[in-house]
């Protein structure tokens, strides 16, 4: 057995897990509230990252500099880009999902229409930004790394872990302890009853998209920074793994998405370390997916209740 640097593996696993978890919570939130699989989530993840990049570099690659020579510090760019992502989420809802809500039996239609919007978003991104890889300029985040034991993790990656934890905690606080959060959970449970209770269900839907997409955008920003790579197809692999994560954790369950994310991240990292090859890493998510679908389809933390329409 190879000499494993456990601290390093743990740090790597936490980094990967945080990236997956942050992506997955938005994904699973929409499924929990609206019962649909938003396959455009990955496109917003990508657009959020590019938006932050544009704000930081002050330049839209392929077109030119921003008006007024605008250039923002990273933290401000991130907040703004998250807001933009959230708004894109609302646009997405208006384009792809809301028109279908009036129709009965449209579970696949919603998913397919989200695929359509994802294609459109990705095409536009490829047209607007240079198709080759972009990255945040060096120095966006101070260099250097955090060392724990024998392991070291660059600060940009530590940031992913911190961001994931902070945002997930904020989300949980929102969902559990605020009136808005209770309204969201009520709508997730039973939209008809929620409506009768006076909750503006459409507004909750819009807000859920805003929240989910803002988180997705954040995931893209921090991940893109950490791996020094943004490109219009960056959403594709993470989307499929994100699917595995939310099913693993139980669709609709936010804690499940977090658990699933970290489980996948750590499993991937460990398996690479133990087998000494990263060739099959990408397949692990799907092996886990198959296993959970066969053994416990409701997921680890899921209690997939039948939605009362």
């Amino acid at each position: 057995m190879p000499d494993i640097n456990w601290s390093q593996q743990l740090l790597n696993g936490l980094f990967a897990g945080s990236a997956y978890a942050l992506f997955a919570v938005g994904y699973t939130l929409i499924f929990g509230v609206l019962d649909i699989l938003n396959l455009a989530h990955q496109a917003i993840y990508m657009l959020g990252a590019f938006c932050a990049l544009v704000l930081v570099t002050g330049n839209v690659a392929g077109i030119g500099p921003l008006p007024g020579g605008l250039q923002l510090p990273f933290w401000l760019a991130t907040v703004l880009a998250m807001l933009v992502s959230g708004l894109l989420g609302i646009v997405l809802d208006r384009m792809a999902f809301a028109p279908l809500r009036k129709r009965p039996d449209t579970h696949f239609s919603g998913m397919i229409s989200s695929i359509a919007v994802a294609l459109i978003f990705e095409a536009l991104a490829t047209a607007l930004f240079l198709p080759q890889r972009s990255q945040f300029p060096t120095g966006t985040i101070p260099g250097g790394a955090l060392t724990i034991g024998r392991g070291a993790l660059p600060y940009s990656r530590v940031l992913v872990i911190v961001a994931a934890l902070v945002l997930v905690v904020l989300l949980t606080v929102l969902l559990r302890f605020t009136k808005l959060g209770k309204a969201i959970r009520a709508v997730a449970e039973n939209p008809k009853a929620a409506r009768l209770l006076g909750i503006n269900v459409e507004a909750i839907y819009s807000f859920s998209f805003f929240l989910s997409s803002a988180l997705g955008g954040a995931a893209g920003i921090f991940y893109g920074l950490a791996v020094s790579r943004l490109d219009p197809t960056m959403g594709r692999t993470v989307e499929l793994k994100g699917l595995a994560v939310i099913i693993l954790g139980g669709m609709g369950s936010v804690p499940g998405a977090v658990l699933g994310g970290y489980l996948l991240g750590l499993t991937e990292v460990l398996s690479v370390a133990l087998t000494n090859t990263s060739n099959y890493r990408d397949a692990i998510a799907f092996v886990l997916l198959f296993l959970i679908l066969v053994l416990r389809p409701s997921g680890l933390l899921g209690a997939r209740r039948v939605r009362e329409a």
Binding site: D35, D105, F108, S113, I120, R236, D282, P297
Partner: protein, 295 residues
């Protein structure tokens, strides 16, 4: 007017469209056909190039092996409802991609190029004819009725004596056969294959043929395939005359996305519904939420 390679691609895409039609016909949204196509393409290529098999034998293998994989994978997966099956089948494509990328035999990430051209037009025509015949005879047959029942309401179908798992598996396996056939024919026509050709993008393309064309009739996906194959070609010839530094890639993506969105929103039964007075519902129902069957 329509170039030869475009016509050939139309035939191949029609085959792929029919492969997904079979699973849609019994209410299953399977996105595995791109992966089965990949298996057919890679297996066929390896057999022709490395093992020197005669083409007819390669074609047979490219049909049979995906069928076997489908039977194996389908058995546990087809218990899954709706969306979950779609995801599981996507996962299959990913696993396949990883396997292909890592085998030296399959040329790794770069794929294989300069495959000898073996596919002839008559073979394409025959393959398409067989597929069309198969799907045409389905409507009105006992199995066809069973498919429709499963598609409409699987639980009720079971209480009527229909062994739903068996029929879903048959559809899945037959679809895999057509997809594998399309894969091997295409590989020996357009001469290159790469792992990226059989993943999510291709799966979505195939789905788009069926959605845009409409899956109420077997002609729908064929129509969708023809249309979506011709359009980018027309676009390519007009657009590239102008702006030189824009890549042709994103326009196709954009076009596909817009067409798909418009169809889903405004013509959900697909283009075929403009021609027939069918009011059959095309998109598979997924009224149940739970990932797996309740008994």
């Amino acid at each position: 007017m329509i170039g030869e390679s475009t016509r050939q691609l139309m035939a191949i895409n029609a085959l792929l469209a029919l492969s997904i039609y079979l699973t849609l016909a019994c209410g299953q949204l399977s996105l595995a056909n791109a992966a089965f196509m990949g298996i057919g393409a890679y297996l066929g290529t390896v057999l022709t190039l490395n093992a020197g098999w005669p083409f007819w034998a390669t074609i047979l293998a490219a049909i049979i092996v995906p069928m076997a994989v489908a039977a194996l994978v389908g058995w546990p997966s087809l218990r899954l409802r709706g969306v979950f099956l779609a995801i599981a089948t996507l996962g299959l494509g990913e696993v396949l991609r990883v396997v292909i990328v890592n085998l030296k035999l399959t040329g790794g990430a770069e794929g294989i190029s300069s495959i000898s051209v073996k596919t002839q037009d008559w073979q394409l025509a025959l393959a398409l004819a067989v597929a069309l015949y198969l799907t045409w005879r389905l409507r009105g047959s006992r199995m066809g009725y069973a498919f429709e029942a499963i598609r409409e309401d699987e639980t009720v179908a079971r209480t009527m004596g229909i062994n739903t798992t068996r029929y879903k598996l048959i559809a899945f396996v037959l679809g895999a056969a057509l997809a594998g056939l399309a894969g091997v024919l295409k590989a020996h026509l357009f001469r290159t294959i790469a792992p990226g050709d059989y993943g999510f993008v291709q799966a979505v393309d195939i789905l788009t043929f069926a959605v845009v064309g409409g899956s109420a009739s077997f002609l729908g996906p064929v129509l969708g395939a023809f249309l979506l194959t011709i359009l980018p070609e027309l676009l390519r010839s007009n657009l590239l005359r102008g702006v030189a530094n824009l890549q042709a890639g994103w326009q196709t993506l954009l076009l596909n996305g817009i067409i798909l969105l418009l169809v889903i929103l405004f013509l959900p039964n697909g283009l075929i519904s403009l021609f027939t007075r069918q009011w059959r519902r095309p998109i598979p129902l997924a009224s149940e939420q739970a990932p797996s069957e309740a008994t």
